[in-house]
Subunit: 350 residues, 5 copies
C-alpha cells in the first residue's frame, strides 16, 4: 500500500466562498453563516444532525435520561428528545443543526434564531426489504417558510434505484438553487450490488462524492472510506479488476487497501480522505461521526477529527456522539472537536 | 421486565397549544375546538371514527339494528349506517367525528355544525394481496370546502412501500399545514417483514410514532403496544438483536416484554404507552379502541382508558366499541370514557 | 338461510334529492333530469348503457341487422351501431344514455338534446392478461364541453391494483363534484383473489358498494349479488371465516347463501339487494341487466325488475337486453320495464 | 365460410363531413384539406407515411439509390431519405404525408406548404423485449407550431400495457380535439396474448378499430384483417369459443375464416374490410399497404386498392410500396392507386 | 464485404445552417458559435466532454497529476479535475465543452465566456444492475440560466426501457427547441438484448442514429460502428436474418462485416461511418474518441480523425484522450486533431 499523504495543508485546493460568487448571494450568505458566523468558524464546519429517529427507530431514547425534568417542556427528557437536541444546539456553538420537516415544524420556537438550520428534506426507515432510496418528506418551499439555511438530502449510489434517486436529488438541488438555498448532500454508497463488494470502501465513497458534486451539492457529507472487510476483499478486488478493463486506474484502489487483516495508519486514513477531497474541489466536505465510538469517545473524536482536518476537509457532522450522551458531556465533546477545528493551521479565509 | 412507571403525571412533558403558537392560528383554533370546546375538553380527546366500511367491508351493518325506523332517513337503521353514527356524534359529546370523503359529501347536512370533522383522506380495503398502503381518495382542498377541522391519514411503517407512503403522507401533511389544517396520522406498523417480527410490538409501535412526528403529524393515533405473541417472540428478539448491533439500546425492548406466556400488568402497560408519549413530546397522542372487547365492554373501556390517561396520553379514538352497539349504549360508553378523561388529574391547560 | 325480506317499501330509507341540497344545484339539477324529467320518472331510473364495444369487442354487431338501411347514416345498420343505440334512446324514454368519449364526440348531433348523457370516462378491454382496472380515456372538462349530465366510471374492488383504482376513481369523483357533475360508479368486484372466492357474491358486491359510497358515488351501478357457484363455495366460506376473526358478523354472509345446489327464491334475491341498498342509504342504486337472458327476455326482465324495485332500488341499467335486439323490440322491452317502475308503489317524491 | 359482400356501395354508411359539423371548424377544415383538396380527392384518402426508420431501423436506406446526387441536399440520396420522401410528396398528389417530430422539425422547409402534414407523435423501435406500446415523442402544441393538419398516433390492443396505452392515446386525442386538430389512429392488435391467437385476425382487427373510435379517432388506419395462419388456427378458435360464452356472436368469426389451408376470395376480403367499416361508421378508415408486395407491385396495389375501395373505405396509407422504390416509380404507383380512387363509383360528397 | 467508399466529399449531402433557417435564430446562432466561431471552425466540430466522473467513477483522477500546484485553485490538480478540464478548454480551441449540471453550477466562473457550453442534462452511473437509461439531473431552464449553448442528453436504444427513454429524450428536445436551444444527443445502443447481438455493431449504431434524428437531435454523437466480436457474430447474423424477414435489406449488414477474425480497412471504416451520415442528412454528426488508445495516441487520433472527416462527419467528441493526459499534451493532441479538421477538403460553408 502506498502512503503519500503529508502533514500540513494550505487549503489552496479547498473551496472558498470568494471564489464562488457566481452561486449568488442567496446561497453564499447562508454558507457564510454556517462556515464563519456559527460553529468553530474560520471556514470550518461542525454540525449536529438529528434525523436518527426516522433512520434507526426510537431506541435512541433509551441512551440516557436527564436527572431532573424541571424544564422538560423546553429542554426535554434526555436522549433523542428534539428539545434536548435543540438545547444542545442552543447552548453549544454549532455551524448548523439538522432536523426533519415535522420536527422543524413543531419545535422551531425552541431553536435560537441564530442557529442555522439544515432542513433535512428526506428520510429512510430501517425496515426489512425497504428499498435503498430516501423518501422526500417535505419541500424547498416548506424549508423557506421555516427559515432554513440549507436543504439537506440523502443520495444513495449503488442500487437499481440509483437512477431514480439521481432524478429526485438532482431535481431538489436545482429547485433549492433557484431559491438561493444551498444543498447539503449525504452521499452514501448503498444497495445490494454495492454491499457485496464493500459499501463504505474507498472506491464507492469516492464515487458517491463525485456524483454528488456533479449533481450540484454545495456541502457533501461523506463517511470515512473504510478498509474493506476480509470477507468482502476478494469480491471488491474482483470488481475493481472488472472496472479496470474500461478505466485502468481503478486498480489503484487495490493498492489503497491495507494488507489482509491489517489496519490503516492515521496517515493512510488521512490520505484516503484527501483523495475524496481532491475529487470534489469546489464542494465543502464534512465527514460523519464514523462508527459508534467505544472506549473513550473524546480521545477518539480528537483522533478522527485531526485526521479529517489534516486531510483538509471543512469539518464534521457528528450526531450520536454528541446528543447520545448527556448535554454537558455533549457540549464538552463539541467544544473539544471545535477547539481542534479552530487551530490556526485549519483556518481558512473566505 | 422492568417497571418504572409511576402513577400520576403533571403533563409537563405533554404538548400545550400555548407552546405551539408558531403553528399558526389556522391549526391552533381547530385543535382548540377539538381539545377544549368539544368532547371531554380540558385538553383531552375522544373521537368517533367511522372508516371501517372501507377498511373492513360491509359486514358491520349486521352488528345491530334499530327497533324502530321512524326517522330512518335522518338517523339510520342501525350499525355502520353513516346516519346512525352521525346521530351518535350529534347526541354525544365527542372531540371529533372521522369520516371518509364520500360520506362527508353525502351526509354533511346531518352533522351538527359544532361537531369538529376529521376528513379522513385515505383508505385501504381488506382484500387478498392488497399492498400495505392507503389510497388517497380526496384532497386538502376538498376538506376545506367541506368544513373539516383536520385532515386524517393512515401511515403504514413496515413494508417495501413505506418509502412511497412517506412521500404520500409527508406531502399531504405539508399541504394541510400550508392551508392551516392540522394533520391527524393513524400510525401503524404493517407489512410482511414487520408482521413476522410482531407488528403491534413495542418496538414497531414506537418506531411508527416517531416517524409520524418527524413527518409533521399534529395528532398521532396509535395502538396499544402489544406484547409479542409466543410464536413470534423468537423472531422479534432476533430482529432486535440484529438492530442492536447498530443501536445497542434496541435490546431494551427485550426487557420490556413479559415472560413467555405471561401478561403485562396495568402499570407495565401504562409504562409502555408512556414510552411512546415520551418519544413524541409535541404530538398529541390518542390510542385506538384496542382489540374488540369481549365480556363487559364498559369495564374494559374504563380499564384501558385509565391506562391511557394515566400514561399521559391526550385520549382515545374509539370506533366499533361506540358505534358497534345501539346508540344509547354507545352514548353510555362514551359518557363513561369521557368521565374518566374529565377527572381533575387528567385535565391540562392550554 | 334466513329470509326476512318483506314485500312493500315506503322508501323512507332511500335517498331523496330534497335531502341532498348540500350537494349543490349543479349536481341536483342533473340528477333531477335523470330521475324525474326523463325515463320512467318519479325518482326511478332506467338507463341505456353502450360501452360494450370497448369492454367486449366488436362481435356485438353480429347480433341483428336492420332489414332496411334507407336511413343508415342517421339510425345505423343494426346492433351495436352507435346510431342505432341513439335511435333507441331518442325514440324510447330513458333516464340517460351511457356513451364513451369518442362516441359522444362523433355522434352527439344525433342524440336528442333532452336525453341526459352519462359520459363514461373510462373503459377496459377484454384481452388476455389485462390488469383489472379501467383506463381513463377522457376527462371531466371534456364531459362538460360535451354537455353531459353525469360522469360515469368503473371501480373494481379485489385486486392488487385496487389501491391505485381508488386513487383514480376518488380523484375523478372529487373533480366531477367540483364542477357540479354527478358521478355514476360501476362498482364491481374483480381480480384474481376475489374471483377465487366468488366475485359476484353477496360479500363482495356488498363491499364494492360501500366503498363506492365512501368515495362519493352519487349513483352506484351494482350487479345482482349472485349465489356462489358450488365449486367456489368452500373457498368463499373459508374466506368469510377468516374475515370473521376480525369482524364476527362476516359469518352472516354464510347464512345468506342457499343450500349447496339450491337456488334463491325471489324474496331471498330481493332481500339480498335490499341489504346492498341499506348499506348505501344516500346513493341512488341501480342494478345491471344481469346475466344475458335466455328464453323469454321480457318475462325475465319483468321478474328481475320487480325484484329490484321491490327491494327499493332506484332502477336499472340495461344494455344488451335493450340494444341487443331490434329497435322495436328494445323499445317494447324498455316500455315493459318502465311500466313496472312507474307503478305507484315504486314512485318516490323528491 | 359465408360470403354476403356485394359489389357497389353508395356510401350511405360512410361518414360525411357535412354530418360532422359538431366537430368544429378546426378539425373539419383540416379533414377537408386531406380528403377533398389534396390527393385523389372526392372524399378519398391516399397518404404517404414515413415513420419506418424508428419502427424498423435504418436498413430501408439500402432499398435503392439515386443515380445522380446533383440535388442531394434538397431531394436526398434515395430510399428512406426524408428529402426523397418529401420530394415524392411534393411531386405526387397525396392526401397527406406522415412524419415524426424530429423529421418535421428538420425538413419542414422542403415540404410544399399545400401538402397536409400528419405529425406522428409517437414511435416504437423494434428491439428484443421492447414492450408493446409506443413512446410519445412530441406533443400537440409542437404539432400546432409546425403547421400540422392532424396528429397521428399508434394504439396497440392486446397486451398487459393496453390499459396504459388507452390512457395515453385517449389523452392525446382529447388534447388534439381541444386544439381543433384531427386525430389519426394507427389501430393495431399487438402483444403476447394476442399474437398467440392471431394478431391480424378478423377478431382482433375488428376489436382494435372499435376501441379506436370509442377513443375518438377521426381517421383510423387499419390493416387488412388477415386469415389466421394454420398453426394458430386452433388457438384462435379456442379463444373465440371462450369469448362466445359471454358474447355468443363471437362464434361468427370462426365462420369468417377460410378452410384450413384455403385462401380468401377477393369478395371475402372485401366483405371482411366492410365488416370493419360497419363497426366504425363515423370514422374515416384507411387501410395499410399490407404485406410487402412481391412480384408485380403495381398489379397487387391495384388489386388490393380495389378491394379496399369496393368495401367502402376512404383509402389507404401506403409507405414502403411508394417510397421503397425510385421516385418516378413511386409516383407511377401512386398515380395508379389514385386513379382507382378517383373512379366515379368511389367518389363521395362532403 | 463490399467497399464502395470513395475518398473526397463535397458535403453536398451534409447539413448546412443556411438550409436550416426554419429552426429559428435561437438554435442557429448557438450552432454557429460551435461550428464556426469556436474550435476548428469552417463547420467542423471538436468538443471536450467531461461527464466521466458520473459515468465511470472517480478513478480517472489517478490518471495523471500536475507537478506544480501553484494555481491549483484555478486550474486544478490534474486529471479529471473540473478546473483542469476547464483550463484545457480555455487554453485550447474547442467547439464546446460538455459539463454536468453541478459542475457548471460550481465552476462556471472559470470557463472563458467565449467557450460554448453544452449542458449535459443527464447521467448514468456504472453500478451493478443499474438500468440502461440515464437520469435527468437538471433541466432546460437551468441550462438557460447557466448560459449554455446547447443541452446534451444520452439516449440508449436497446432495452426494455427504451420506450421510456424515448419519451424522456423526446420531451427534453421539444422543450429545448421551444427555448431556442439546440439538442446534442449521445445516441448509444445499450441493453441486454442488444449487447447479446453486438451493441456497437453497424446495425445498432445505424438504428440509434436514425431514431435520434427522428426525435429531433440537432447534433448526434455516435460511436464508430465496430465490427462484431467473433463470439457474438453468430447471434448478430441470426438476428439480422430474423429482421430481414420484414425488411429484406437488413441482410446488407452481414455483408458489411469483415471476415471472421478479419479487420476493417480504413476505407471500410470510412464507408461505414458514411452510411451513418447518409441516414441522418440534416443532423450534424460527431464521432466519439473511440476505444481508449493504446500505443501512440497521436498517431491513432490522426488516423481515426481522418476516417471520420473523410466520411464527411462534422467532427468528434474526444474526452479521455484529451483530458486524460497532461494539459500540454492534451492541447497538442487537440491541435493535431483540429489541424486535420481545418484542412481545406473538410471545410464547409454555412
Amino acid at each position: 500500500m502506498v502512503s503519500e499523504a503529508k502533514a500540513g495543508h494550505n487549503f489552496v485546493n479547498r473551496p472558498r466562498l470568494c471564489d464562488l460568487k457566481h452561486l449568488g448571494r442567496g446561497r453564499l450568505e447562508k454558507m457564510y453563516r454556517m462556515l464563519y458566523e456559527n460553529g468553530p468558524g474560520n471556514g470550518t464546519f461542525m454540525s449536529l444532525p438529528f434525523d436518527q429517529l426516522v433512520e434507526h427507530g426510537a431506541a435512541h431514547i433509551f441512551k440516557w435520561k436527564k436527572d431532573s425534568v424541571a424544564d422538560v417542556a423546553v429542554t426535554g427528557r434526555g436522549s433523542a428528545d428534539p428539545r434536548t437536541v435543540i438545547e444542545l444546539a442552543n447552548r453549544g456553538d454549532f455551524s448548523a443543526i439538522v432536523l426533519h420537516p415535522g420536527v422543524v415544524d413543531k419545535y422551531q420556537d425552541l431553536l435560537r434564531l441564530d442557529v442555522p438550520l439544515i432542513y433535512k428534506v428526506d428520510g429512510h426507515v430501517t425496515i426489512p426489504e425497504n428499498p435503498p432510496m430516501s423518501a422526500t418528506l417535505g419541500g424547498v418551499r416548506d424549508a423557506l417558510r421555516l427559515g432554513a439555511a440549507a436543504v439537506g438530502m440523502s443520495f444513495y449510489v449503488g442500487s437499481e434505484m440509483t437512477r431514480e434517486d439521481m432524478v429526485r436529488v438532482g431535481g431538489l438541488i436545482v429547485e433549492a438553487h433557484e431559491h438561493g438555498m444551498p444543498a447539503v448532500v449525504w452521499a452514501y454508497p448503498r444497495g445490494p450490488g454495492v454491499n457485496e463488494v464493500g459499501a463504505d470502501s474507498m472506491y464507492w465513497v469516492h464515487y458517491a462524492c463525485v456524483v454528488a458534486e456533479s449533481l450540484g451539492a454545495d456541502i457533501i457529507k461523506t463517511k470515512f472510506p473504510a478498509p474493506v472487510k476480509d470477507d468482502k476483499r476478494e469480491a471488491y478486488f474482483d470488481y475493481l479488476k472488472k472496472i479496470a478493463k474500461k478505466t485502468a486506474e481503478a486498480e489503484k484502489y487495490i493498492e489503497l487497501e491495507p494488507e489482509e487483516g491489517g489496519e490503516l495508519t492515521e496517515d493512510q486514513h488521512m490520505h484516503r480522505v484527501k483523495l475524496v477531497l481532491d475529487a470534489v474541489p469546489r464542494s465543502f466536505v464534512v465527514v460523519s461521526g464514523g462508527p459508534k465510538i467505544k472506549g473513550d469517545p473524546k480521545k477518539e473524536l480528537i483522533r478522527t477529527t485531526r485526521i479529517v482536518m489534516r486531510a483538509g476537509a471543512e469539518g464534521r457532522i457528528i450526531g450520536r456522539n454528541f446528543w447520545g450522551v448527556p448535554v454537558d458531556k455533549g457540549l464538552e465533546y463539541a467544544r473539544t472537536v471545535a477547539e481542534i477545528m479552530r487551530e490556526p493551521q485549519y483556518r481558512r479565509s473566505f
